[in-house]
Amino acid sequence: MTALNSYRTGPDEGGHFGIHGGRFVAETLMPLILQLEAAYKEAKADPAFQAQMASDLVHYVGRPSPLYYAERLTEHLGGAKVYLKREELNHTGSHKVNNVLGQILLARRMGKQRIIAETGAGQHGVATATLCARFGLDCVVYMGAVDVERQKPNVFRMEMLGAKVIPVKSGSSTLKDAMNEALRDWVTNVHDTFYCIGTVAGPHPYPSMVRDFQSIIGRETRAQLQEVEGRGPDSLIAAVGGGSNAIGLFHEFLDDPGVEIYGVEAAGHGIASGAHAASINGGRPGVLHGNRTYLLMDGDGQITEAHSISAGLDYPGIGPEHSWLHDIGRVKYIPCTDKEALEAFQLCSKLEGIIPALESAHAIAKVMDIAPTKPRDHIMVVNLSGRGDKDIFAVAEHLGGQI
């Protein structure tokens, strides 16, 4: 076996990361996807496009996001030195906006006036609605009816921003069904519509395009750590729904041999319970939503419902690049239950004065496990992908109170 000389060159021409990825879509969409691929390639190489991205990331999104030394959390855990990459301080409150900005600028370049998106927690929907407002584009957001209920503040925000939110009642009424419905809309309205996917999943070129837009997280992290510590990290950790905040942090460091990398999957009530959203820990490779990747399914290849306390992680799949990084062993994917995430949510709030998104709380929960096992000079960076304001109602309910 020959060793890979880089983990950062994927995907291949056909959008494959190992056996994962690809373009499993209906013929109606295929010409659009090829067009998108060509348009993105062109934009990526265009200094004017890159310059506008860079400028809007600073002045509209508020980047760079701080890399913050979590002193009290570090002391409490008594091991690794923990840094939080503060993506929750971006405009709209999560990392999602990095990707949306890129896609919306691309949509404008392609002359598309109507933007559609799927959303789970509502963070991607809010980011999309925000940039559509900023650039005067029509915006339709598909959201599972169950998620509309548990993420009400975000539904209100999207509507305030001028987007039309369509509750999806088919299937399990969560993120996967919202994605099905968005794909159906796209098939129907191919001529004027741009589909802004919220994570590193879907048909090629989405997984690599979204990764490119999110990779600024890792690049900033490297520069910021260099400045304060004079060196790079020893470990990275991030929650994985589709995997966009995680790959955004990881990609920069994949070829740094010493860096341990952990992706945290939502384990719901526990892998053994069957009620979870851990596609790698509890699923196997299959084909859904345009790509091959690890999925939750039954023995007949029917997709099963995911469960997570966090709407943003409640998806039965994962981006294809993560599936490949798992197959080759470069990244370790570890499970985190609802209960562990809830504890981390509270701990981070009380110790650091930062209320994390429930998604991000999954990553913090594993920091609580891993950091104490590391020496004090071990530098660990955790992606604080979003803020928790949207989750306070759900958390209150789980803790037995009500707001």
């Binding site: 499993f24 209906a26 999925l295 399914m297 290849g301 029917q302």
Partner: protein, 279 residues
């Protein structure tokens, strides 16, 4: 090699009329009722049968076929049971072509080589797999063709002149022209535009062209069939099943008959379309 599909289109040409392709979802509302519907389709006037393989996430289907698939899955339908239905059908009918239509994941999980062997043995003639475009031909299309299963491709209004040859390259049996940009069960297509599109496809291939998506009534079927080699009706038949179910979603005495009657009406209309032989 003469396949059931090519024999059927040769026969239709000799009769100087277009064909009727009927779509039903395998196992909707249950395997037994669905098999009974399947068995009655040829006598009711179906020239070719598309048998839908249920999938939880049918991203190119509208509400009617989504619901039909979920009913079948709730009643315990699996890909193995669908193949078993085809085998049972073949005991009484060795001429009517059966095309399985669905999504790739159930086949991928069943195992592609095993699926091809079992589908052939059961008497399946062709496959329409919505989420396998030419870019993914290595997955199933090429091995299926090699085994003698027709791989029927969808061409759509977005398939332009430049792409059409790619789409037609490994197509066998017939070409399925999706008459609208949209999902199954949407608004009816414009028959004139469809005729023009079919003529365009025929400049690139000698294969017959069937047209579907959005065709519901006998009158629409006749109008579309006039400009094509065959017309496909699906959502309307799946709706006919749904309308006869009892409160618990179970089949009633009317279920099989309702589908049979609608197919008879569709066939009568389609058979009324004659054209000069040997065009």
């Amino acid at each position: 090699m003469t396949t059931r599909i090519s024999a059927r289109f040769t026969d239709l040409a000799a009769q100087g009329r277009p064909g009727l392709v009927t779509f039903i979802t395998a196992g909707d509302p249950d395997t037994e009722t669905s098999l009974e519907i399947l068995r009655r389709l040829p006598a009711a006037g179906a020239d070719i049968i598309e048998l839908g393989v249920p999938f939880t996430d049918p991203m190119a289907d509208g509400p009617a076929i989504q619901a039909g698939g979920l009913r079948a899955l709730a009643a315990g339908q699996t890909l193995a049971k669908t193949l078993e239905m085809v085998r049972a059908f073949r005991e009484g009918d060795d001429a009517t072509p059966i095309v399985l239509m669905g999504y790739f994941n159930p086949i991928y999980i069943y195992g592609v080589p095993r699926f091809i062997t079992d589908a052939k043995a059961a008497g399946v003639d062709g496959l329409i797999i919505v989420d396998l475009p030419p870019e993914e031909d290595a997955e199933l299309c090429l091995p299926a063709l090699e085994a003698g299963l027709d791989f029927i491709r969808l061409a759509t209004p977005t398939t332009d002149e430049k792409r059409l040859p790619t789409v037609l390259a490994h197509t066998a049996g017939f070409v399925y022209y999706v008459s609208i940009t949209g999902i199954t069960g949407s608004a009816a297509p414009d028959a004139n535009a469809v005729g023009t599109a079919v003529a365009r496809i025929k400049q690139h291939t000698a294969l017959p062209v069937a047209v579907g998506f959005g065709v519901r009534t006998p009158a629409q079927a006749a109008a579309i069939a006039a400009g094509a080699d065959a017309v496909v009706v699906g959502s309307a038949l799946v709706e006919a099943v749904r309308k006869t179910l009892d409160q618990d979603g179970k089949a009633t005495a009317n279920t099989v008959v309702a589908v049979e009657t609608l197919v008879q009406e569709l066939a009568e209309a389609v058979r009324g379309v004659t054209r000069q032989a040997a065009e």
